[in-house]
């Protein structure tokens, strides 16, 4: 890690004529100390990491690729969305759930330990014109990148009363940041699988109800979503059906994380594949062929 040049890396993929979603050009390999660890819920951790480099460059949607452990098991790095950034304090957070041995090891990292991190990686969410109505739809750990997007929008002067945040989780304990949401004056709709808070059921269905019942102009919606694959597939279907714009942040298995191996691809509606690490992770929901991901 003696080399932290920040040369332009990947040429934007100009297959389509749209403006590229990306700010992909500043990947670096860094040794980053853990500043603090918070256990928000059983198995849900937030790590605060110290890096001027990343905090200055990170945009909502970017992720980092972290080496967890050095015994060779797990072998590969693990990707995590940048969850929030504090430029003035040169720090950023990741939020994650322990699901396997990689996240288990990461959850054992203690303040002072230094992590080997590649980042920031990937493109980012494109902010809407301020005339749009914004809807953020998070499922479970999908809150991780959307929280960054949300706070970023507020910082950029978006009117919270024109933002709706839909947040679905297993149960009320996993509905994070409820206090903070309240303070923000955003419109918050929550759902839980067990009905322990908000409406019982899927967040996508709450969303559907809202856009149908809410007398919304679908053309004027800017929807952003992150969550389990099934949920994003549903969002994609709805976006196609109702014609609203929707950006989703995807997760696939990653090896290199830098666009070299073509392991992390997602199938587009036109039959081609794109890399989640280098061409995403943010994609236009309408362009993804979700039936071919699973």
């Amino acid at each position: 890690m003696n080399n932290q040049r920040t040369i332009t890396l990947i040429q934007p993929n100009n297959r389509d004529s749209e403006p590229p979603l990306a700010n992909r050009y500043m990947l670096s390999q860094l040794s980053i100390p853990v500043l603090s660890k918070n256990i928000l819920q059983e198995k849900i951790f937030r790590l605060t990491l110290s890096s001027a480099y990343i905090s200055q460059r990170a945009k909502p949607g970017n992720f980092v690729h972290i080496r967890v452990g050095s015994t060779g098991n797990p072998l590969l790095r693990r990707p995590f969305s940048i969850h929030s950034v504090d430029i003035s304090k040169s720090r950023f957070d990741i939020l994650f759930r322990v699901v396997g041995k990689g996240t288990e090891l990461l959850s054992q990292a203690n303040p002072g330990e230094v992590l080997d991190i590649l980042g920031p990686i990937g493109n980012s969410f494109i902010l809407p014109p301020k005339s749009k109505e914004v809807m953020l739809v998070a499922g479970g750990m999908g809150i991780a990148p959307l929280w960054f997007l949300f706070t970023h929008m507020l910082a950029k002067g978006f009117d919270p009363s024109r933002i709706t945040f839909l947040f679905g989780a297993k149960n009320k304990r996993e509905l994070l940041y409820l206090e903070k949401f309240k303070k923000s004056k955003v419109k918050l709709l929550v759902t839980t699988d067990d009905g322990s808070l908000g409406s019982k059921g899927l967040v996508t269905e709450a969303f559907l109800k809202d856009i149908i019942g809410g007398n919304r102009d679908h053309q004027n919606l800017a929807v952003y979503s992150c969550g389990p694959e099934m949920m994003l597939a549903r969002m994609s279907d709805l976006a196609k059906e109702y014609g609203f714009s929707c950006q989703v942040s995807l997760e696939t298995n990653m090896a290199c994380g830098v666009g070299a191996c073509w392991g992390c691809v997602v199938k587009l509606s036109d039959g081609t594949y794109q890399r989640v690490c280098a061409d995403g992770p943010v994609f236009d929901a309408q362009k993804i062929n979700f039936s071919k991901i699973a």
Binding site: I10, R67, L76, V258, C261
Partner: protein, 307 residues
């Protein structure tokens, strides 16, 4: 002060500044890692396999981690040789390192076509002929697994190639020595091994293979012992230089391969784990030779004592 040890290696008339290459498919076309390491420190870059026509590759998921290894079933995704020459080669030509273009095909004719298109290109030092990809239905392993087809393929490519060629062999065979001798007989300038071992992982919850392609190729530290045994056997059975790869993670691993008889090595999966691996190994080899008072890396090649 002792003089700086000599890491250079010459294979088929091509002089490499050091014997550490990065392996095909794990390093893209070089540019992807350009921000992370100084490419001029590498012995050379072996590009992702190029084929005659562009290939989208296999349905995802394409990778999954396994104990001390990973399976991949990328399926030779690449832009095809024409766009490779237009879009990827210019970047590579500018790098101060050796460039080895890896070639794959569904038929022998395709291999030959690709090589013909590459022949006029500047900035290519060697070709690596991939007759060992386990993740495509036609070609690839189909050629590398039997002596006759391996021999025919390499022979025809060698006949028309403007560059020295390396035959990249598959470990999924009964007798690697037989295949190595066949491609040596066909005139290859060097042999690289190993490509990945065929493997599989199953998602018990879904009752489905994890990989979209059902099976994939196993790489990483898990396969190092298999690679080392094959390199040792082949190096003792052929006269052409052998390039060793499979699970090399650090200088110690690299030294094992040189002792077993590899003239050069390639770093594959390790690039994903730590992009600095190849450069670290170059530095580690320098340090090791200096410490031991060994003048040239070539002095180590094949120096395994088995008596």
């Amino acid at each position: 002060m002792k003089p700086k040890p000599d890491l250079s290696v010459t294979i088929a008339g091509v002089k490499f500044p050091n014997p550490v290459l990065v392996a095909s498919g794990t390093f893209g076309y070089g540019e992807e890692y350009g921000a992370l390491i100084d490419l001029s420190k590498l012995g050379g870059i072996v590009c992702k396999s190029v084929t005659l026509l562009p290939r989208e590759g296999n349905p995802p998921p394409r990778t999954v981690e396994t104990p001390s290894g990973m399976l991949n079933a990328i399926g030779l995704t690449n832009v095809g040789v024409d766009r490779f020459i237009q879009e990827k080669l210019p970047f590579l030509q500018k790098q101060k390192t050796r460039i080895i273009v890896n070639v794959a095909g569904r038929t022998i004719e395709e291999y030959v076509e690709v090589v013909k298109k590459l022949n006029p290109c500047k900035g290519i030092d060697m070709l690596e002929i991939n007759i060992s990809c386990p993740n495509v239905k036609e070609g690839g392993l189909a050629f590398g697994a039997r002596c006759e087809s391996a021999q025919t393929c390499i022979k025809q490519v060698k006949e028309i190639s403007g560059f020295p060629i390396i035959a990249k062999l598959s470990p999924n065979v009964t007798d690697i020595v037989e295949i190595a001798q066949a491609v040596e007989g066909a005139g290859t300038d060097a042999i690289s091994l190993i490509n990945t071992l065929v493997g599989m992982a199953i998602d018990v919850e879904k009752r489905r293979p994890v990989l979209g392609n059902i099976t994939g190729g196993l790489s990483g530290p898990a396969i190092k012992p298999v690679a080392l045994a094959m390199v040792w056997k082949v190096a003792n059975a052929v006269k052409v230089p052998v390039i060793g790869l499979g699970g090399i993670m650090n200088t110690q691993d690299a030294l094992e391969f040189f002792l077993a008889g590899a003239s050069m090595i390639q770093i594959g999966t390790a690039n994903f784990v730590d992009p600095q691996t190849s450069v670290n190994i170059v530095n580690g080899l320098n340090r090791y030779l200096k410490e031991k008072g060994i003048e040239r890396i070539t002095d180590l090649v094949g120096k395994l004592e088995t008596k």
